[in-house]
Every structure is written in C-alpha cells, then in structure tokens.
C-alpha cells in the first residue's frame, strides 16, 4: 500500500472510477454540443443565449465543468507523479494545475450565471 496525500480521492479505485464517470459526462456534453451545432438551425446570438439561459443546460454545463476539473486533476496528478521526480517542482506543478482548474471552474460559473 502506497500512501498518497495529493491524489484526488486517496483511493486508486475511487480515482479510477471518477476518471471514467467524468469521461462519460464529458463525452455526452461533447456529443450534445456537436449535435446542436451541426444539426440545429443556423446559430444566432439569441439562440445561443436562450440555450444557456435554460436551467437544464446550466446544470448540464456545470456538471461538465466539475467533471472536467476532477478529470484534469486525476490526469495531471498522474502525469506529474510519473515525470516530475523532485518533490518541490512536482508540488509547484500540482499547485499551478489546481489553481488554474479552480479559476476555470469559478470563471465558468460566473459566465454561466451571468448570461
């Protein structure tokens, strides 16, 4: 048993499951967006605004945003523990990744509810 204090959920199984569940959510959102843009009517500003003013779409987008954050953390944590061996450098990389992810989530929420 390897003790890890910076992984997403401390358990390998939990991280593995979260990575897969969030991947499905991200895939669903991507498919929806491609479908909406490719097969919907010609896109106008009003249609785009209307789409994101819908509560269901906001919930779906927020879910995707949070899934993205969890997915990114698990993936980047894995990459950093593979390739960055000095603890200090790895800590800086993980801190920047965590901070950027948080900024994207907070910014995304502001954009989503600011429409």
């Amino acid at each position: 048993m390897v003790t890890s204090i910076t992984s997403f959920g401390r358990s390998g199984l939990y991280d593995w499951m979260v990575q897969r569940v969030t991947a499905v959510i991200l895939a669903c959102y991507t498919v929806f967006m491609i479908g909406y843009l490719a097969f919907g009517a010609e896109l106008t500003y009003d249609m785009w605004t209307e789409l994101f003013q819908c509560t269901a779409m906001r919930i779906f987008t927020l879910l995707t945003l949070l899934s993205f954050a969890a997915h990114v953390w698990i993936g980047m944590w894995s990459v950093s523990t593979d390739y960055i061996k000095p603890t200090g450098m790895r800590f800086v990389f993980q801190s920047v990744t965590g901070l950027l992810t948080f900024v994207y989530v907070a910014w995304g929420i502001q954009i989503l509810w600011g429409i």
Binding site: S11, L13, D15, S78, T81, D82, Y83
Partner: protein, 234 residues
C-alpha cells in the same frame, strides 16, 4: 551480420557505449540469440550476460533485442534480426551492473510486496489442501510466470515508478494468489493494492502482453484485480 552490444564495465568505463561486432554465423544457421552471445563471448571473454537453463524456463537471460524484450535462449535470430543487424541492450529501466546484466532488486521488491505465498488461517489438513479441477483451472495462465522481468521492464509505468507501481509481473502473481481457492487473505491482499499506484498506474497499453515469452496476459489479470476491488467496494 552486425551485432551492436551495450557495453559497460563500471570499473573501467566512464559511461556505457555500444560495441559493433561483425560476426559470421557458422553454416548460416538460424541459431538462438543466446548461442550468438556465446559466439561473441568466445571473441571477447569480457562480455557479461546471465544465462542458465537455455530453454526458456529459468528466466535468466531476459534482454532487449532490436527494441523488444525477450529471452535470448528461445528467440531465434530470424525473429529479431532486421537488415542483417541486431542491437542487444540490457532490460530497460533497471540499473545496469555490467554489460547485459541488470540489478533485479527493484523487481524482486515489487514481487515481495504482493506476498507471493499461500496464506490460509484454517488448520492444515493431514495431507494437503485440495482443489477442485475447476478451481485449479483458475490458476492457468498465472502460475507459469518465470519472473524474467521482460514484461515489467517493458512497462513505462514501471520505469517511472518502480518503487510504487507493482508492475505487470508482480500483479500477475498477485492475481494468482487472489484467484487461488486455498488462499484466505483475499480481503487483506486487495486492501494492500487499493492505492493510486500499486495497481491503478497500469494504463492498459499491453506492452507486457506483447513481450511475455511465456505468452501470458498480465493486463487481463490486472483487469480482474480491478474487478475484484470494484465488486468488494460499497
């Protein structure tokens, strides 16, 4: 043919280097790489490599031949030589002791971690612990591992974290004991593996399956360990 061999003697060399040797195969026969090594050693007795059984059972002569790990004793030249050239290197990722001889310490430590022995807390019967033929069949494809390290040293996850990731060989053995009907420590064994490194650093690239000289499938065994962890989780 041209053979390019990784050479390093820490007592005399500052750094490893590749030595190119031209050699004629007697009779133009399709010999094994181990036989070729013996021919090279006849030319240069300072060359070091491990060998023992010369029939793919002991796992001593694992090495990297034209980029692919395998056992020199059961790999014919025709299977690896390209453009009349063969590049021989030690198993990747492990410290080199000399020439093609690597320090297997880290590999054995990973093996030791999975407790490679039967644990059974019930009183032993008078003669032996019996298994049904079906239970015994569960161990097929697992017990045959000869610990040659070809798989683990072909695995990038093992290269980057040999002290934390058990590696394909160790995990194949871990499943061999998890699947054994006579073993009673399943819960403890699984608890020891449920961290982000030991099992879950496997990304399923299947290099291990590609190189295993015994034709075993560690990726499948790792998948089964994952399923066992999933099925006992709440």
């Amino acid at each position: 043919m041209l053979v390019s061999v990784y050479r390093y003697n820490p007592e005399t060399d500052d750094a490893p280097y590749m030595q190119d040797i031209h050699i004629d195969i007697p009779g133009g026969k399709d010999i094994m790489v181990l036989d070729l090594l013996q021919l090279l050693k006849d030319k240069d007795p300072s060359m070091a490599y491990r060998r023992s059984c010369r029939e793919g059972v002991c796992g001593s002569d694992g090495m990297n031949m034209n980029g692919l790990n395998g056992l020199a004793c059961i790999t014919p030249l025709s299977a690896v030589v390209k453009d009349d050239k063969l590049v021989l290197r030690p198993l990747p990722g492990l410290p080199v002791i000399r020439d093609l001889v690597v320090d297997m310490g880290q590999f054995y430590k990973a093996y030791e971690k999975i407790k490679p022995f039967l644990i059974n807390d019930t009183p032993p019967p008078a003669i032996e612990r019996l298994q049904s033929p079906e239970d015994r069949a569960e161990l097929d494809g697992l017990y045959e591992c000869i610990l040659c390290a070809c798989c683990s040293t072909a695995c990038p996850s093992f290269w980057w974290n040999p002290d934390k990731f058990i590696g394909p060989s160790g995990l194949l053995q871990a499943y061999r004991f998890l699947a054994d009907s006579r073993d009673t420590a399943t819960r403890e064994r699984l608890a020891d593996l449920d961290d982000p490194f030991s099992v879950f650093r496997c990304h399923g690239i299947m290099n291990c399956v590609n190189v295993c000289p015994k034709g075993l499938n560690p990726t499948k065994a790792i998948g089964k360990i994952r399923n066992m962890l999933l099925s006992q989780a709440t």
